[in-house]
């Protein structure tokens, strides 16, 4: 609201994911691959392995072309992109971490210089000096990870920083060390995986086999260590946040599942390559790389999605509103906007007055400034799809907008604005779909649950709905009549008697105890 919103038709979030996803796959290689270069050179020279050295020369060219060009430029690309999509968060992260970024820049500069001198120095320098450049490269590249890791983990687990705003408190935050070790393993694993690519095009089968075996020494142990550090990492994330990856939030849960599966597949493929090292084909090495890419990006997706609704946990929401008032917040906090309204607060908004006739237009503006950092009207994370899927009419949309922060373990920030503005937003979202036909025939309890309850509730014994709804069908049907009366944060859904009855019936078949009894009966 403080900055204009870049209106990307297919979804700004998708663009961000694309740039960042490509970058991390190369940047981790840039770190691990550096150590791989020096240690491989040392090994090859000790063994007088001229063929291996020759390959390494070729590999280091590949390394520079991938990391110094694509890796470095996409790194700048992330910066360009977040500045366009989340300028508030970018500005916060710049101001909080200026010296961190500046220190990283020093390392980056040394990293690029030493990488180029290492590459150009193959035929010019004596071996010892050549490796000296390699070591400088690796150390400075690793140090840039040491710095950036502090900033990335800060966003998920700022810890006591939110109380004292001290640089080092935020930097060495609760997940700093597990994340550093976790990412170190990724770097080392990728060093071995990328080596497969250049190894696969070698004609000398014996050489190819030597490289594959050597690469496996990097990949296999690192992949096996990943779950150990992942476990430590997860334990340092507050349990209520991590719940999002354990079923409460579809994106977080699916990504976590995907990361685990793809990690397993990567390991399997690496072992297959190791079993048939002389027959490694380029296509196979690219498949390994692609699967590893999927695994890494799934992990990054988990991290980003469990962080929702925040960009910086307990500080800044994904839609650039501060979670609590502080001096200098510019009025861009929940409570202030709830009081003053979006139209009076947002700087970059075209309509300032809400009338009877411009409700939809105002709703569109509110959607743009408050929702479009994650959603589009009807493409990436399109609200249109959600509404059609659940058959919500405007009244239901309005009711649901009051409960955004309860959905999927709080994936969304609460709606900020006045009641009239909430009506306008509901009118706009409702206008995105054709009018709902009144359902004919008897209501289906499962459908009612999926449409109206499943965003916040889970089929679990400890879920409020399943634990506390009276078992007596009539009592339960009556209780559901007044949802806010049942529990104040519930949306006032006004379910019909028919729907309530069907829902209760279905819920009773799903109660874990009862389900167990049914299973036991079988």
């Amino acid at each position: 609201m403080n900055f204009p919103v870049w209106d990307v038709a297919f979804g700004a979030g998708l663009l961000m994911a694309l740039v960042a996803g490509l970058h991390v796959f190369v940047s981790h290689f840039a770190v691990g691959g550096g150590l791989f270069l020096v240690l491989t050179e040392r090994k090859a020279r000790r063994n007088n392995d001229a063929a291996m050295l020759n390959w390494l020369k070729f590999h280091s060219k590949f390394f520079v072309l991938v990391t110094v060009v694509f890796g470095a430029v996409t790194g700048v690309g992330i910066w360009f992109t977040i500045g366009l999509i989340s300028p508030t968060a970018t500005s916060d992260l710049i101001h909080i971490w200026v010296w961190g970024w500046a220190i990283e820049w020093v390392f980056f500069f040394l990293e690029i210089t030493s990488a180029l001198l290492y590459l150009y120095g193959w035929d010019k320098l004596d071996p010892k000096l050549h490796q000296w450049y390699g070591w400088i490269y690796f150390i400075t590249a690793y140090l840039s990870l040491v710095v950036i890791n502090g900033i990335i983990t800060f966003m998920l687990t700022p810890g006591h920083w939110t109380d004292n705003h001290e640089f080092w408190t935020g930097f060495f935050n609760p997940t700093y060390w597990p994340s550093l070790l976790f990412r170190t393993c990724i770097c080392l694993a990728l060093a071995g995986i990328y080596a497969l690519i250049t190894a696969s095009v070698q004609k000398d089968a014996a050489l190819k086999a030597r490289i594959v075996r050597w690469g496996a020494l990097w990949t296999v142990p690192s992949l096996l260590l990943l779950p150990v550090f992942a476990r430590w990492y997860i334990r340092r994330i507050p349990a209520d946040i991590w719940a999002s990856a354990r079923g409460a939030m579809p994106t977080g849960t699916n990504s976590a599942l995907g990361a685990c599966i793809l990690l397993g597949v990567t390991l399997l493929l690496a072992l297959i390559a190791l079993a048939m090292p002389r027959r490694l084909h380029l296509a196979f090495s690219l498949v390994v790389a692609l699967v590893a890419f999927g695994a890494l990006d799934s992990f990054e997706f988990v991290r980003e999605s469990v962080r929702k609704p925040y960009v910086i946990v307990n500080y800044l929401y994904a839609n650039s509103l501060y979670s609590s008032s502080m001096s200098g917040d510019g009025g861009f906090t929940l409570d202030k906007i709830n009081d003053a309204g979006v139209l009076k607060t947002a700087t970059w908004i075209d309509v300032r007055e809400l009338t009877k006739d411009n409700q939809v237009a105002v709703g569109r503006e509110i959607f743009r400034v408050e929702c479009s950092s994650c959603h589009t009207p009807s493409s990436y994370r399109g609200v249109h799809q959600y509404i059609v899927l659940r058959q919500w009419d405007q009244d239901k949309i309005r009711a649901m907008l009051g409960s955004l922060y309860l959905m999927h373990n709080g994936v969304m920030p609460p709606f900020a604005g006045t009641d009239a503005e909430r009506d306008a937003l509901a009118a706009y979202i409702g206008s995105l779909q054709p009018p709902i036909a009144t359902p004919s025939g008897a209501a289906n309890g499962k459908t009612v649950y999926e449409h109206d309850c499943g965003m916040c509730h889970q089929v679990r014994a400890d879920d409020h709905l399943f634990a506390n709804l009276p078992r007596d069908p009539q009592a339960a049907t009556d209780a559901l009549k007044d949802l806010p009366g049942l529990f104040p944060v519930m949306p006032d859904l006004k379910l019909s008697e028919d729907e309530r009855r069907a829902l209760v019936q279905w819920v009773n078949t799903q109660r874990p105890a009862q389900a167990a009894a049914v299973n036991g009966g079988n």
Binding site: V69, T81, D92, V98, F108, H165, D329, T347, D350
Partner: protein, 372 residues
């Protein structure tokens, strides 16, 4: 309609060091970035020019490859040195920078795509060019054109960031980020001012290369010197047209700052003009006497000073543009001493290590040997 309310507010986090520290870092790192950019772009453009005149000059093709092979490294330097001013400009001028970037979002995003394509093109010429000379010329032209487009996008974004009064209309007529700042009167002169400077500095780069080769390969070095020196000469002369066009395209109240309104701005401009005249004289004298050493040392030093002067003038101009909105006092300051000192220590150590790396590689030994 001037709507100062449209300028976003600064975020709540205080500056982690006094304002002037960031200002100094911004100007110094921008100066280094622009020098590297000038060498890269000017070098690439002159390489193309050398190749184009290869029909009349026997060294044309050799100059082309000699310089083209240095372009990827110069581009790496441009990017690496560009990150620091990109950081510091966001520290001080984020409200303007993010906003104008969002207004020109797609072109701005395309910079990354174009840059990757240009970079790989330059590497292609460097690695494969001699084996495929025909393709090398075309790819070089392609990559250089992309870099010129990137420069143009930069000029659009930077100039738009200076004029908040134009933002609202631009944004609400196209919030999808397909904008440029083509109606800006200073756009083309400003852009050409930078590009002409790149040719001049690129010419100096050739002079420096000629100097390093003076003893070992004198016939070629002489030709390279004449070519680079003349490029510098003509570009600097052209700057008197382009530079003044830029100056007089400025809004009147800003123009007068350089015409006596602001003592520092006026003296810097005067220094720039006198320096440019002196460098033209020194370069033509050196070319006539075939004295590469003079050209390399004296003209390079003067030019570096002029570029620094221009960087300071650019900063004065920016603050003058933003005067109605931007006030350094608006920043709360809470210095983070230990990270600041850590940065300074690492920065100095990094510069030392960087020099040692170049020394051990033999850069300075080569230059020394060439001039013995």
């Amino acid at each position: 309609m001037l709507d100062p309310n449209l300028v976003p507010t600064v975020d709540p986090n205080p500056l982690p060091a006094p304002y002037w520290v960031f200002k100094l870092l911004l100007i110094v790192t921008f100066f280094l970035h622009i020098l590297a950019m000038n060498c890269m772009l000017g070098g690439a453009a002159l390489a193309l020019l050398a190749r184009w005149r290869q029909g009349t000059n026997k060294f044309g093709n050799r100059i082309f490859f000699d310089v083209a092979k240095k372009v990827p490294v110069l581009l790496a330097a441009t990017i690496s040195l560009g990150i620091a001013p990109l950081l510091f400009v966001q520290v001080l001028y984020g409200q303007y920078f993010y906003t104008s970037s969002i207004l020109v979002a797609w072109p701005w995003f395309l910079v990354i795509v174009l840059l990757i394509a240009a970079y790989y093109g330059f590497y292609f010429v460097s690695y494969r060019g001699e084996r495929r000379p025909l393709a090398a010329g075309r790819v070089m032209l392609f990559s250089t054109t992309l870099v010129l487009i990137i420069g143009f996008i930069y000029t659009n974004n930077i100039t738009l960031g200076l004029v908040p009064s134009r933002w609202a209309r631009k944004y609400f007529s196209s919030p999808s980020g397909w904008n440029l700042n083509l109606s800006e009167p200073t756009l083309f002169p400003r852009y050409l001012h930078f590009m002409t400077a790149a040719i001049a500095v690129g010419g100096l780069l050739l002079v420096l290369i000629a100097w390093a080769k003076w003893k070992q390969d004198s016939e070629y070095a002489r030709d390279l010197f004449q070519f680079g020196g003349k490029a510098f000469l003509y570009a600097t002369m052209a700057q008197f047209v382009v530079g003044f066009w830029f100056l007089f395209s400025l809004p009147r109240d800003l123009l007068i700052l350089f015409m006596g309104g602001n003592a520092l701005a006026t003296s810097l401009l005067a220094f720039g003009i006198v320096g440019a005249l002196a460098s033209i004289y020194l370069m033509s004298d050196a070319l006539r006497k075939d004295n590469v050493r003079h050209a390399a040392i004296a003209v390079s030093s003067i030019t570096a000073l002029i570029v620094l002067t221009m960087s300071v003038m650019r900063d004065i101009l920016r603050d003058a543009y933003l005067k109605p909105y931007f006030h350094p006092q608006q920043f709360p300051v809470k210095t983070q001493w230990s990270p600041l000192l850590l940065f300074l220590g690492l920065f100095l150590a990094g510069v030392a290590l960087w020099i040692v790396m170049l020394m051990r590689y033999g850069f300075f030994a080569k230059a020394k040997a060439a001039n013995r």
